[in-house]
């Protein structure tokens, strides 16, 4: 039975259902319960945005507040994953990866290969990313291209409550380390989500909208920018085919290539900084494997190569919006060889 819930509720429901199902799933992170050691309420926070609020009351000490020691507790989640647990660690903001990246990319990501296939590390690192909350340069980055770059990691970037729930449950059941990236500006968005537990496979992109004129590849919040633009463009008879990658690693190359084969045009919309990001990754894939199908130059819509500014005026200009997407699509359509 599906009903409308928010992205944030979908995340919490996925966590709760997996913790119900599997004793070995535990949660750890800064204030994921909130209130540990205090004279006041326990389960007071659920993280700064309350995403996990209520889980401590349900699952007690399987939901653990941690000190501000990301290397230690993310590493502990990884070590525990090699020793029989299936931990979900919360890295509050993806921007904080810089204090614990080693445990993620040199340890968790490489165990299986370095150990000749004789290890599994079923750990999930949930983390919030993206601009839009006036959180400035150190709390607004995307950074998923960095995790995508690392062999041994899987990287998930859901765009809807439905995807968030199904992909998170898959992530928890997955035997490889998964970086699960939640766009902070999507937490309050609503969508239909089945009450029962379900999984969505990794490496399967989602056709958000079918169209013959131009393929628009996007992920995370940018999927919504692309959809808005597509609605507007449809009024002018331009039909966009919108592909939501859902996971950047593994990547659904087939779906992207098939679509470009049909449309002959590609636009990639990526909120991450422009150099070595997903926009370049997808563009290069197509330029190498679907060149013959291309009728126009590939276009990328990204923010500028700058940190994320604090000023609302500047941040709004920084974030790719539907207007920029629409303009870019029109340019692609206008191209004459």
């Amino acid at each position: 039975m599906a009903r409308k819930i928010t992205f944030q509720q979908a995340i919490r429901e996925a966590l709760a259902q997996e913790m119900e199902r599997d004793e070995s799933v535990i949660l750890m992170g800064e204030d994921v319960a909130g209130g540990s050691g205090t004279d006041g309420e326990m389960d007071a926070w659920g993280g700064p945005l309350g995403i996990t609020k209520g889980l401590w009351s349900k699952f007690g000490d399987r939901v653990m507040d941690t000190p501000i020691s990301e290397s230690a507790f993310v590493g502990a989640a990884i070590g525990a994953a090699t020793a029989g647990l299936r931990p979900v660690a919360e890295l509050m903001f993806i921007d904080f990866m810089g204090v614990c990246f080693d445990q993620i990319f040199n340890q968790a990501a490489k165990f299986r290969y370095m150990f000749g296939g004789r290890a599994v590390t079923p750990v999930v690192i949930r983390t919030m990313f993206g601009a839009g909350l006036r959180a400035a340069a150190q709390h607004s980055q995307c950074l998923y291209p960095i995790f995508t770059h690392i062999p041994g990691l899987k990287c998930v970037v859901p765009s809807t409550p439905y995807d968030a729930k199904g992909l998170l449950i898959q992530a928890i059941r997955d035997d490889d380390p998964v970086i699960f990236c939640e766009h902070k500006a999507l937490y309050q968005t609503e969508g239909d989500v089945p009450e029962e537990s379900y999984t969505l496979p990794f490496g399967e992109a989602n056709y958000v909208r079918e169209g013959d004129d131009v393929t628009v590849v996007a992920l995370g919040r940018m999927v919504h920018m692309a959809s808005e633009a597509a609605d507007e463009l449809a009024n002018d008879g331009i039909e966009c085919e919108i592909i939501d990658l859902r996971t950047t690693s593994p990547l659904d190359e087939e779906t992207v290539l098939e679509s470009v084969e049909k449309t002959g045009r590609l636009l990639v919309v990526d909120e991450a900084s422009p150099r070595c990001n997903m926009a370049t990754d997808i563009s290069a894939l197509v330029a190498q494997h679907a060149f013959g199908d291309l009728k126009a130059p590939i276009k990328m819509v990204t923010p500028p190569h700058t940190p994320v500014p604090f000023s609302p005026v500047l941040e709004d200009r920084y974030i790719p919006d539907s207007g920029r997407v629409a303009t870019a699509v029109r340019e692609v359509m206008a191209y004459k060889a």
Partner: protein
């Protein structure tokens, strides 16, 4: 404690300025005019002021996400700070940084920091520069109880100790890291104990007591200046407002904050000792209070009226040359 009346009045004025600044932002934030995340320093004023009174423009401080008090105490312009918090073009950081990134290197304020534990390595660097350049300068870094569990902070204690850097670590132990008690997250009762493991003097003082902080800072900063190496000063203190604006603080005990405000307030403490020692009259202080109120009023009014950055500013200031 050896301190002149002028210094004491300066201390009172600065503490009052910080308090007024924060109380006012608390009110303005509720109106929705202030963007982003704001962490208020109210209740902890004695620390920033008690420490920074010993510093000159030659000295440097590295701050935290809760940095307004440190900025004011180190001499950042209050109007520029307020404009920055409102994201305006005439802000100290041209509206690009905001509350969590206020900085003014000209006055030795190396920046608030959005990363817990971000400051200590930077302060070690400023101290190293002072040592190498022979400026006699000292670097002070403020860290929270939560920040005292960050590896960057702990590494910095060792580095400052083996290099005998003119660096002072001021731990503001306000009992909480967001909604988590230091009783839970910090092993051991006194964070000052950690210094000893790195062969560094560590002292614990009452962060509500301006004089206690002032004296401990005088000794530590003096020693650092004379080449005697680093010190860790743990100040046990409390914050009045939530972790950030919007935090309901349900994790705190009933009346916890109310009791603190009534019985432990650092500004009331100082005012009492000043007037009781009849160094100054209540009227002197009342006059300062009014001037401060007017200053903050003016800062808020000007900040609200100030111009936003222009879109042409988006891509500037990334590199000095590119």
């Amino acid at each position: 404690m050896e301190i002149t009346k002028e210094q004491l009045l300066k201390a009172y004025r600065e503490m009052r300025t910080i308090r007024e600044f924060e109380e006012r932002i608390h009110v303005e934030f509720a109106t929705g005019d202030i963007p982003g995340f704001v962490h208020l320093y109210a209740g902890e004023e004695a620390i920033a002021v008690g420490v920074c009174l010993h510093l000159d423009e030659n000295d440097k401080i590295a701050s935290t996400h809760r940095g307004h008090g440190h900025c004011i105490a180190k001499g950042c312009d209050v109007h520029g700070m307020m404009a920055e918090i409102y994201g305006k073009k005439n802000g100290l950081c041209a509206g690009k940084g905001g509350s969590m990134h206020i900085a003014n290197l000209e006055v030795g304020m190396m920046g608030a920091n959005g990363i817990v534990g971000g400051g200590p390595p930077l302060a070690c660097g400023a101290a190293l520069a002072a040592k190498k350049l022979g400026t006699k300068g000292v670097a002070v870094v403020f860290v929270g109880d939560g920040g005292s569990n960050q590896g960057t902070t702990l590494e910095s204690l060792n580095l400052a100790s083996i290099w005998q850097l003119p660096c002072v670590f001021v731990v503001e132990n306000n009992g909480y890291a967001e909604a988590t008690s230091s009783k839970y997250s910090v092993a051991g009762t006194d964070i000052a104990e950690r210094a000893k493991g790195f062969d560094m003097p560590g002292v614990t003082v009452d962060g509500h007591d301006f004089c206690a902080v002032y004296d401990a800072a005088e000794e530590a900063i003096g020693r650092a200046r004379e080449g005697g190496g680093p010190t860790l000063i743990e100040c046990k203190v409390n914050r009045y407002f939530g972790h950030f604006e919007g935090d309901a603080q349900t994790y705190r005990g009933p009346d916890e904050v109310k009791n603190l405000r009534e019985n432990r307030d650092c500004i009331e403490n100082l005012a009492r000792s000043l007037t009781s020692s009849s160094l100054v009259t209540p009227e002197d202080l009342a006059k300062i209070d009014e001037e401060v109120k007017a200053l903050i009023e003016d800062a808020v009014a000007k900040a609200k009226a100030a111009a936003e950055p222009g879109v042409e500013d988006l891509e500037t200031d990334v590199y000095s040359e590119y």
